[in-house]
């Protein structure tokens, strides 16, 4: 297992390097650089002053030279650089935004599982029934909707029309430490993410149950005279949960990458918001930090899924 992990980690290095090069090149070749977003105040700048600003950030050099300096800074100093917008270390900015994103997406994941697993089990156990077809159809309708559109509909309905929930932010003024108020603010974004994503989890669970219910040990359990409920809950359900547990590892990057559009629509100041604002302000170091963090987590999530699978399923062995 150790050698497997080492090989996987070493194998990820060229992949991460490739991602970093492509990301940096795409950003640097986009129209308008950091000096272009100085706003009206920068309009009076002399060409020399603009050159000085570009020199301060190393932007006077070709993009591949800039990339090399970025990489050198990361490898030899462990630094992801300084934001062009406010000159703060980007790692500080990223970690500042992480908690709210993890909170929102984590709650959404929990809600998704709460919805998806029971429905998946029931649909799998009643394959071909009206409930099975209806749950899949409804799930795919939500899945097919752009999540930002779904979010806007939720706002229109529950924030504007019924006024049950707030339309933006994560807390009311003066109640920043009130847990109930925070949950109240997160209801709509969490529901938007959960509705958009529950169908894939539900379908996984449904397939697992169908596969488990056709296994030999289920036939044995039935032949022992166990009730259908006991067969499902004590035998099929536990085994059918294994693939779902391993899939949780794959959702790790989403916890950090966040639900960009949902954060944007609900004005939640998390990683998604930081990503959008960094794109618009051409803040390359911050964008690189977010991209690389997400890439690392995708690799780590895949690895974690493989390891979890080996732990929970004794039949799996990695050489």
């Amino acid at each position: 297992m150790t050698s497997f992990i080492v090989r996987r980690v070493l194998g990820a290095i060229p992949l991460l390097l490739f991602i970093s090069i492509v990301t940096y090149a795409m950003m640097a070749l986009a129209p308008g650089g950091p000096a272009a977003v100085l706003g009206p105040r920068g309009q009076g700048l002399s060409p020399e002053a603009i050159l000085r600003i570009n020199q301060a950030y190393g932007l006077d050099k070709p993009w591949y030279v800039q990339y090399f300096f970025w990489l050198k800074q990361l490898l030899f100093h462990g630094s992801l650089g300084t934001s062009y917008v406010d000159n703060r270390p980007v790692i500080e900015k990223v970690f500042e935004k992480l908690p709210v994103t993890i909170e929102m997406v984590g709650l959404a994941l929990i809600l998704t599982l709460i919805i998806a697993i029971p429905i998946g089990i029931y649909a799998g156990a009643h394959r071909g029934s009206f409930f099975d077809n209806a749950s899949s159809t409804i799930g795919f309708i939500f899945y097919g909707m752009p999540v930002f559109w779904l979010a806007i509909i939720l706002i229109e309905l529950f924030a504007v029309e019924f006024r049950w929930f707030p339309s933006s932010g994560v807390s009311s003024l003066g109640r920043e430490n009130d847990v109930l108020d925070r949950l109240w603010h997160l209801v709509l974004p969490v529901v938007a993410i959960a509705l958009a994503s529950f169908v894939s989890w539900m379908r996984y669970q449904r397939s697992s149950i169908i596969e488990a219910m056709s296994s030999g040990y289920i036939r044995t359990a039935r032949s022992k005279g166990l009730s259908e409920r006991d067969v499902l809950v004590h035998h099929a359900f536990r085994n059918a949960l294994l693939p779902i547990v391993t899939l949780l590892g794959l959702s790790l990057p989403q916890l950090v990458g966040g639900a960009y559009f949902v954060e944007y629509v609900f004005s939640i100041p998390g990683i998604g918001y930081l990503t959008f604002s960094s794109i618009f302000s051409r803040d390359y170091p911050t964008l690189m930090a977010i991209t690389m963090l997400t890439a690392v987590l995708i690799v780590a999530g895949n690895l974690l899924a493989d390891i979890t699978y080996a732990i929970v399923d004794p039949r799996i062995r990695y050489a």
Binding site: A36, G44, R52, W164, S167, S172, L173, R175, L180
Partner: protein, 537 residues
Amino acid sequence: MGSGFAHSLERLRAPALALVAALVLGGCAASAETHRDPNTLVALTRTDGATMNPMYATTVQDGSIYAALLFDGLSYVGADYLPHPRLATSWSHSPDGKHWTVDLRRDIKWSDGVPFTSKDVVFTYNLYLNPKTGFLDFGTIKNVTRVYAEGPYRVHFDIAFPNAVFTLNVLGEDVLPEHVLGKIPPDRQRFSSFGEHPIGTGPYVLKSWQHDSEVVFERNPYAYRPPKIGRIDFRVIFNDQAELEALANGSADLIDDLAHTQYVQLQRIAPNIKLMTFAPLYVDVIELNLAHAGLSDVAVRQAMMYGYDRVAIAHGLYDDKVPVPDSLIVASLKHWYNPNVQKYPYDPDKARALLDAAGWKVGPDGIRSKNGTRLSFELLLNQGSALLTDEMLTFIADMRDVGIDINLRLTDFASLSARTYTGKYDIIADARGGFVDPDLTSIFASDQIPPNGANTTHYKDARVDRDLRLGLVTLDDAKRQAIYDDMQVELMKTIPIMPQVGRFAATAYSPRLYFDPKVSLQSPLGYYNVEDWKFVQ
């Protein structure tokens, strides 16, 4: 089995419903109850800015509002739009206008208790003038050739040529503490922690800053103009509706940048909230790239003005709460505004006649052309502005009506800015203004075409060049007025930039707040008298 499972779901339903009910009711209670420090002014904002360092601030929030709370210049601009002494007590200039002497106040300390002296002023201007600093207002002060002190409370400035806006622009720059920033090399100033931990002479000090969430200022214990309100708390709210709710339910006291839709809605949902509109300092404009074959023809530009129903915009989108300007110098700058310029009432027939006379013939598709050049342009617009988009849709329809084809393209600000400064555009919708002096050298002088300056329309007009040159070096106000009157006549005849409507400027505030801002709080001089604001309940 199925019924058992369904039964399990059934058992979960009651607690689930209870949780949702608790959230809704608890949340509603949360929205109704607020725990407020009565001596804190809660102001709502869309952005908390990027830095407290005035050298590198780029937004109204950090460059104008925070700077007004934390720092002072030697002069400031009052509600009369004229410069008045702030850190200075008086100033005078030599007969040739190339040497200025400024006397300083003697009762001022920085917010860390260190006395303010002429050393700070000399240090600040030398820092600003050093190209390595990358000071964003470098263009404003670049004609200063030498700054030196005479004792602790007098400073001398030598300038390359007489400068009519010296007291307004040069002396208006914020003064920085030498004892804090003097140890940092100019090329490292940008990266210093001063942007997060500022020391100033203004009425407030920065207490705390949670990025993208909250910025709190407290009364400066050494303030020489101590504010009546002890604390100002800027809360970042990105959403129009949430802003209105916070103001209506008493969680907040002030929205200083009210959109017109919010203004209308507040009148309906919260009649107790006070509303104030201001004569705008900014004008929504349409900038034309005169390097383009069609737009280089002045007849086309004049026809575009006649063919555009700007009154319909002011009426339809803003309920007539914004003016339809005759000039780029707004009417509220009474001293400089010239109403006697060429007017452009909506007259599509006159627009068509002008184009016909200039040889622009209507083609089979209804679009005009001449010598192979079609009057077909791309209009670039920053995607973040919904109202400006509505204005532009009307503009496009009006232009089509007179035979000019305009295609709208939304883009982000960085791309828009890059294309503007590289001349890769036809037409751009934007806003111009914020200035209180008519010196528009950087926008219209022919030697300011990028990369040298901000003349992005590539405008070249000998008469305007002459007026700008003379206006800048003429110290006599009456003579300057005549010069800029002439400049406005020429600009409105040649139309490098089409003024549309004045930008809507309004503030909404709690009845417990008493203040008399006179000018929009979102203008560069909005918080000039913040120390006089107070609570009346």
